[in-house]
Assembly symmetry: C2
Homo-oligomer: 332 residues x 2
Amino acid sequence: MATIRDVAKLAGVSVATVSAVINKDSGVRVSEKLTKRVEEAIKELNYKPNRIARSLSKNENYTIGYIVPSITNFFFPQLARAIEDIAFEKDYGVYLCNTDGRKERARYYLDSLVENRVAGIITTLTWEIEEIDFVEHVLEQNIPVVGLAGARSNESIDTVRPDDIEGARLAVEYLLGKGYGRIAFIGVKDSQTTVIRQNGYRQALLEAGLEYDEGLVGLTSGFDNSEIFTIVESIIHNYPDLRTIFVFNDLMGTAVIDALYRLGKRIPGDIAVMGFDDSVASYTFPRMTTMSIPKVEMASIAMERLFKRMNGDNSSPLDIQITPTLVEGNTT
Amino acid sequence: MATIRDVAKLAGVSVATVSAVINKDSGVRVSEKLTKRVEEAIKELNYKPNRIARSLSKNENYTIGYIVPSITNFFFPQLARAIEDIAFEKDYGVYLCNTDGRKERARYYLDSLVENRVAGIITTLTWEIEEIDFVEHVLEQNIPVVGLAGARSNESIDTVRPDDIEGARLAVEYLLGKGYGRIAFIGVKDSQTTVIRQNGYRQALLEAGLEYDEGLVGLTSGFDNSEIFTIVESIIHNYPDLRTIFVFNDLMGTAVIDALYRLGKRIPGDIAVMGFDDSVASYTFPRMTTMSIPKVEMASIAMERLFKRMNGDNSSPLDIQITPTLVEGNTT
DNA sequence: ACTAATTTTCTAACCGTTTAGATTTCTTAA
DNA sequence: TTAAGAAATCTAAACGGTTAGAAAATTAGT
């Protein structure tokens, strides 16, 4: 593969001149004549500058890391896309990292991103990220991090996230307003997001003067359909008059709906289901009622913060919370 | 940030020794004593090797590029995840690139991936990729490319894709078997995938001795819901007795179902809907009938091919086609 | 025509690794 | 003891860019 020296030789010019031609806007002026000669040599040799060498030399890497639990959770592709759109505009590339909820994988990416000297990292703050002190380790290497969609489990970085407490409260208020009475809550055990939304659910119940009943809360160890089925079944068995299930996110909401159908329930006739995050709600029939999270907006705020940090801003970390809005479907 | 020289100095050792300690399995033996001293220095300085420098020196980059039209199309996250899982196991990182169906963006990533000297590229062969002669340009730089899920529009690379013709034929046969008679087809105008599946649809009709009626084919310019509504409406208007719509993929299938509901149709009572690719079908209620594409399997074959090529294999390019299987839901 | 000032171009060092090949140190056997 | 061979360690030159600062070429002023 041709190098800058090959180009210089062919054009009968020094490497500095070639470099100046490549980086037109660097301030160094090159005469018409040489510019043309260099450009011809570049074409002739099909020369492509080596960004790795460039990165090493300038000590800057036009790449940011994006860490998610799993891109297959439909909530994340939309964030990923929004992030990539902005990165693209600023000439940055995006490294995609799925932790899969596993510590060792989070640790792998911690090392990988640091060793690759990425310019910045956007991550969802999940338990596996916290457990390995991801943020501390990365900040120590002077790589800025911004938390996007998840808990604010770390005070030392900017976080941009939905106001889950308020969102859950709005959801519960809406459901109570519909007169459904008892509301069950279903989520994932080790999920920060579940914890927060569960809190909102609890608060809303207490504020409404209702009791918070542990028996109405079902937590699964993951997104496994058969486990979800079992939990739904047992809650329904214990509370035969249950009319509503509030699920911590849309993806699991679809599994709950599936379970209910298999149990012979009609929705919303027998039981209403409400999701959260609006990731798949608009693709289900009947459309699932959910709380919509403005993903593009959140991603762009997160990226804006990240670039600010990358440019040296070290004002005190912000926690930006965006209130989700109700999208009424036909499952409630 | 500490460098290998800092470590060497602190440990009272040469950089070569430090390098040997870092790359334990390089064959160079280092004594117990020095190994310990070096490791302590590494810890002391919180040293992380700079992979960029390493890449430059060894002229190899542990990164592969993954190009998709848009990761928000639910078909792709599952592929992306499978690809990343394999890359992770082999210590490779994944660069995510969305072309968004735009030539200039495809061109940007062409340059970016080449300039970053990625080890290999997996891409869906879409029209914008073809139009800019992506494959030719990349191969010219000795970077292997494998086509995953899309057309085989290029004979010079391995492609791994669903057998769309056969899949569409199976779908149509199934629908005909159900006795629905006339079947409409809906897809996207500039989509290679649409073209192929449409061909399968056509062939199946002709084989069954039915006529292929252009009026039953609706092509949109994108995934815009209102445009899809208009097309569905007009087809239904022109063919009042239409009983079935075959949609080129699941995502659009959900939009078609939405349109039908808005037109007051019952599914499958009035009209049956069949999707393709099984990306969202399992999240819809009623579950949409679709043709399932084994995404994990395809991704792993594609990665296997890619790594073979990266290791210098240049046997003649394969076209691996995997037959989709019917997943019967409740929309037919 | 000659300098000085300005512009263009070049030389060489550097970024942080890897790695031949040289050098030093350690073993072993006579 | 010592010489030869093996093992451990080191030196210095890459890798392919960028970029100060030096050198050369051009322009301007008298």
